[in-house]
């Protein structure tokens, strides 16, 4: 019997593109990815996990530096009795300049599949691992699976980085299933997912893109009389996405309560809050943000609200005045655009200032 941990998509050195974190939070997150990975290594060490599988995208070639490599190497050197089996992914593809080839990794680290599908057999565990690493940015139809033949009377594990899409290995899960591996450790999709009991994406160790909501962690497997595979949440922070509907009658606290209806401890988490509905004219989204920032590590609000203007009523009330003319100057079509909508409300608010 032995235990393994399946992780991947760690993206050490990742940049947070398309997130509006700003540099500081980005830096913090980059540090935290290291932190969590280091904690995972601690866990591997303290629990004497026999095998650590890394299913690609351990780091990002573009921003993973020389210094980082030595830090990483140091981590693996801490768990010399654990077999670390790594395949490269599309972010850390193997080339003649990548750290996978240029550097000497600790003896316990085995990088497999650098030159195509490859297997390694660990006699002490009677474990046979098949892996395939990336050496270019996209890998289309490869016929990869047809080359595989599992080793009878051994534990067989397959590590792959990719998905069912065309550019990313074009994996056929049914075909994988039919290969009868004891476990298939998948990487590339950042959301953890068990496709079958024994075929799973471990997901990223920490959520990376702001869209990566939900739990993040790793998969712990036990191979023995009975094989078990279990997802363990491990990320330091979560990205929580919430969507609320507000009305003009609501004050700040009503809205806050709407967001925080459960008493979860969320001060480490990112909140991405989408607010829809109508807000009172003096209701400022920024104040909501201010309140929420006390509770969450980071708050981003997607403001889809419209101000509490009943345009029809206003037009009636201010018939033949600037206000009516102003409202009428926007066509319904235009108001579908944010610019026009914004313009309408800005103008209207100003015109009505001191009147209503």
């Amino acid at each position: 019997m032995f235990k393994f941990i399946h992780t991947g998509d760690i993206h050490l050195g990742s940049k947070f593109k398309n997130s509006h974190f700003g540099g500081e939070i980005g830096s913090i997150r980059r540090r935290e990815i290291w932190e969590t990975f280091e904690k995972l290594i601690d866990k591997v060490k303290s629990e004497n996990i026999e095998v650590l599988l890394i299913a690609g995208d351990l780091f990002e070639n573009d921003s993973f530096t020389f210094k980082d490599f030595f830090r990483l190497k140091g981590l693996f050197e801490r768990i010399l009795s654990t077999k670390v089996v790594i395949i490269s992914g599309n972010h850390d593809i193997v080339s003649n300049r990548s750290f996978y080839t240029t550097e000497k990794w600790p003896d316990n680290v085995i990088i497999i599949g650098e030159n195509g599908l490859e297997n390694i057999y660990f006699e002490d565990l009677n474990l046979n691992i098949y892996g395939f690493g990336w050496d270019k940015l996209t890998i289309k139809n490869t016929n990869l699976l047809s080359q595989i033949k599992i080793k009878e009377n051994s534990t067989n594990i397959l590590i792959l980085h990719g998905d069912e899409t065309e550019d990313y290995l074009n994996l056929n899960i049914n075909e994988i299933k039919s290969l009868n591996f004891d476990y298939v450790a998948l990487g590339h999709i950042h959301k953890p997912k068990f496709i079958y009991d024994n075929i799973a994406y471990c997901g990223s160790l920490e959520p990376l893109d702001i869209s990566e909501t939900g739990e993040r962690g790793y998969i712990e497997g036990t191979i023995g009389d009975e094989n078990t595979f279990k997802f363990i949440p491990f990320a330091k922070r979560k990205y929580i996405k919430k969507k609320i509907d507000i009305s003009a009658e609501m004050n700040y606290f009503d809205v806050i309560n709407l967001v925080k209806n459960d008493s979860e401890n969320c001060n480490l988490d990112f909140l991405i809050l989408e607010i829809n509905g109508i807000r009172a004219k003096d209701f400022e989204i920024n104040i909501i943000k201010e309140y929420l920032q006390r509770e969450y590590f980071y708050v981003e609000i997607i403001d889809n609200t419209i101000l509490d203007f009943d345009l029809r009523e206003l037009k009636n009330k201010y018939e033949n005045t600037l206000i009516q003319y102003y409202i009428d100057s926007f066509t319904e079509e235009e108001l579908k655009e944010e610019l026009f909508r914004k313009s309408l409300y800005i103008g209207l608010s100003t015109l009505l200032e001191g009147i209503e």
Partner: protein, 788 residues
């Protein structure tokens, strides 16, 4: 609203001056420079503060300086007025940096300053905004009409214009286009633009630029990073190559060293065998009494002495034998000596008789014959000479030649000599004669002895003498030899004694070394010597073994090599030195490269930090760009709103203008007593009037000054009423200078009428106003300012 009291504590030329005004019509009269403008300015200042409106920064208007007291001290005043059936007092200190404004309820004394918050957008509250609900410009257009301001003025404030549009278009709702636009502009301004250096917008743009610049720098540094990575890989390759070579050489060296150890092993083994054999040998050798070299030398010396003595003895014996032999050979006869001596005496006597002994007397003489011839010759002359003399003497005598005579006489002398000579010669001849006779006799004697001549005699004598001397010598030899034999005998005895003595001594000493003779002693000594040599050799061998083994132990070597019978000589055995040098060279290169590598890696680690900075900047720029995008959206939205409002406002103006013109027209018609009834104001507030006589629309500025002023005044009055300013006082400063008597009367009449509802304050330096007003027999408050 009605002004009650102006209190000029220190303002312009006034000090502690109080002016009280009535609710109705007030006419304030004063010569030029009496302070009319000052009073009016005081009212402005109290309400609007001489500060440029709508800017946050405090910018003082010219008036501020103009009315600053000469001593610049205590620049302040207060004003009391009735407002919404209460009394209000404003106290203001103008002095720079001490500006202060307080508003009190005059009756209760309550400080109500805070109620006026946000009046005016300057740092100091401007109560005018609160109490008149209008800005300074509008105030000057409709409430406080100044001397020069009544003339053509297109700059009727935006606020006024807006007021008017509201008045006509918003069903009593006070929609403020102007304020809206101002607020929008303000909002835009708050966001800022690239031009506004302190704005958030500009700051973000700047930050973006700075970041981009830095990113470009990082890009360059990253190139260096990549270059260093390449260099590093190259060095690593070189290093691995070098290490491979070094490994090869080291392997060779290891084999060489093994081989050397093997050789060492062999040498050591050989030595150890030798040591063992020597040890065995030495152990088997007995340990006798130690014979030192000195002892041996001494014994040898003694032995040599003994030999020497023996040799000497032998020589002596031989010599004695020899001498004895010689003695036997010597023939010696004492009698013969006597015999010889007698014979010699006889012969020597004979020898003395030999004439030859006298031969010396005649040896020098001429031969006998020659002497006899010479005598004959002299005899001849002794005959001839006396004949010759007698002849010559007779001849001379007869010739008388005496000379010759005498000369011939000398010949007689000669004659004598000749005679002497003759006798000597005869003697000599006699001598010779005698010698010859003796000689004959001697020969006869010799003959008797069987001797032929004297020589033989002498030989006989010599012979005898020789024999005699030989006999004497023999005698001497015998004596000497006999002496020598005696001497040798003595010596022999002494040597013999010595020999025996030493011999005994030697034997005695040899006994100590347990040998009976020297030969055995020498043998013993040689054995001893041999053992010493062996021990020495053993010691040297052991030392040599140590040297050979160095730090190795033979046991280790033995364990390593005992099973090996043969090792091939390494190929590079001869080049070992070269290999060592090569190892050194390669190791040096490796160290160099490693140093370089470590430098590069150091740099790489430092440059590596750039990646984090780059990520940071890229992410920050994303955030900033996002903000700019949001700002741009908002600015665009605001711009759109402003444009739309302006456009609508224009449209509205076009709609309300006819109505406005009609109402203003009526007011103007009344003031001008029907002369001008049609007024047209365009959207820029340009005013035209319809000249009734010609029915032509004429721009206001084409008319006479009086007419312009009159229409303007009417216009302002009308505007003032239209915007609802009739509840405020009307303050007019020298507005009627160009009015003719008739117009002035009309105007004053209207003002008089207005003063029933509205406080009117007229400043003038002419007395005609008072005169005309007096005609209305109204109660007016006439105040005369005196130039103090």
């Amino acid at each position: 609203m009605k002004l009650k009291k102006l209190i000029l504590t220190n303002f312009g030329k006034f000090q502690n001056y109080t002016l009280e005004v009535d609710d109705g019509l007030n006419l304030i009269y004063g010569e030029n420079e009496a302070g009319k403008s000052t009073l009016q300015a005081f009212i402005h200042g109290m309400f609007y503060g001489f500060i440029k409106p709508n800017v946050k920064k405090t910018i003082y208007l010219d008036e501020f300086k103009k009315y600053e007291p000469f001593d610049r001290q205590d620049y302040r005043g207060s004003i009391i007025f009735e407002y919404e059936s209460g009394l209000i007092r404003i106290e203001r200190t103008f002095s720079k940096s001490k500006e202060q404004l307080r508003v009190y309820n005059e009756i209760t004394g309550e400080d109500i300053t805070k109620n006026l918050a946000n009046s005016g957008q300057t740092r100091i509250i401007q109560p005018g905004f609160h109490f008149f609900n209008m800005d300074y410009q509008t105030f000057k257009n409709t409430i406080s009409i100044e001397q020069n301001q009544i003339s053509v003025d297109k700059k009727i404030s935006e606020e006024l214009r807006e007021w008017l549009s509201n008045k006509y278009q918003t069903n009593d709702e006070n929609i403020s286009i102007n304020r809206a636009i101002k607020n929008l502009e303000q909002r835009k301004k708050e966001i800022g633009s690239i031009k506004a250096s302190t704005s958030d917008y500009k700051k973000i743009i700047d930050k973006l630029d700075v970041n981009k610049k830095r990113l470009k720098e990082i890009e360059i540094d990253k190139k260096q990073y990549i270059e260093l990575i390449t260099q590093r890989l190259k060095i690593k390759e070189d290093l691995s190559e070098l290490n491979k070579i070094l490994d090869d050489i080291n392997n060779k060296m290891i084999y060489i060293k093994t081989y050397e150890r093997y050789e060492k092993y062999l040498k050591a083994k050989e030595l150890i065998e030798k040591i063992n054999s020597i040890t065995k040998k030495t152990e088997s050798m007995a340990n006798g009494i130690n014979i030192s070299n000195d002892d041996l030398y001494r014994f040898k010396n003694i032995n040599k002495n003994l030999d020497n003595i023996k040799e000497e003895l032998r020589i002596i014996e031989r010599e004695v034998d020899y001498i004895n032999a010689n003695l036997k050979n010597v023939m010696f006869n004492e009698f013969r000596i006597k015999e010889i001596n007698d014979e010699l005496k006889k012969l020597e006597a004979l020898l003395k008789m030999n004439p030859e002994n006298n031969k010396a007397l005649i040896n020098d003489l001429e031969p006998y014959t020659s002497l006899k011839s010479k005598v004959k010759f002299i005899n001849i002359f002794m005959v001839l000479l006396p004949v010759f003399v007698v002849f010559v003497s007779i001849n001379s005598y007869y010739n008388g030649n005496f000379t010759s005579f005498f000369a011939v006489q000398l010949i007689w002398v000669l004659f004598y000599f000749l005679q002497h000579r003759k006798r000597i010669l005869n003697e000599k001849a006699n001598l010779i004669d005698k010698y010859n006779k003796d000689k004959g006799n001697y020969k006869l004697l010799l003959k008797e002895l069987d001797l032929k001549e004297e020589g033989d005699l002498r030989d006989e004598i010599n012979k005898l003498n020789q024999e005699l001397s030989n006999l004497n010598l023999d005698k001497k030899d015998i004596d000497r030899m006999e002496m020598r034999i005696k001497e040798l005998e003595r010596k022999r005895i002494s040597l013999q004694t010595d020999y025996e003595k030493q011999q005994k001594e030697l034997e005695k000493e040899l006994l100590i070394f347990e040998v009976d003779n020297l030969e055995n002693l020498i043998k013993e000594h040689e054995k001893q010597k041999e053992k010493e040599t062996l021990i020495n050799e053993l010691r040297i061998s052991k030392e040599l073994l140590k040297v050979i083994l160095e730090s190795d132990s033979f046991d280790d070597l033995d364990r390593e090599f005992s099973g090996i019978t043969n090792l091939d000589i390494p190929l590079d055995y001869e080049n070992k030195k070269d290999l060592v040098l090569e190892i050194e060279a390669k190791e040096k290169m490796i160290i160099e490269l490693e140093k370089k590598l470590s430098n590069i890696e150091g740099s790489l680690k430092t440059i590596g930090n750039l990646f984090e900075e780059e990520s940071f900047l890229i992410e920050e720029n994303e955030l900033l760009s996002h903000k700019i995008k949001e700002y741009d959206l908002e600015i665009n939205a605001i711009d759109m709103a402003i444009n739309k409002i302006n456009k609508i406002s224009e449209e509205i103006h076009q709609n309300f203008a006819p109505e406005f013109n009609r109402i203003i027209g009526e007011k103007v018609k009344y003031i001008t007593k029907g002369k001008y009834s049609s007024i047209k104001m365009d959207k820029e507030m340009g005013i035209s009037v319809l000249e009734p006589k010609t029915d032509i629309l004429i721009s206001l500025d084409k008319l006479s000054y009086g007419t312009i002023d009159q229409i303007n005044f009417a216009l302002r009055l009308a505007l003032s009423e239209e915007i609802g300013a009739e509840k405020f006082p009307l303050i007019i400063d020298e507005a009627f200078v160009y009015f003719d008597e008739e117009r002035l009367r009309n105007t004053l009449e209207i003002l008089n009428k207005i003063s029933n509802q509205r406080q009117v304050i007229i400043f003038t330096c002419h007395d005609r106003e008072k005169r005309l007003l007096d005609e209305f027999k109204n109660e007016i408050n006439f105040i005369q300012l005196t130039d103090e």
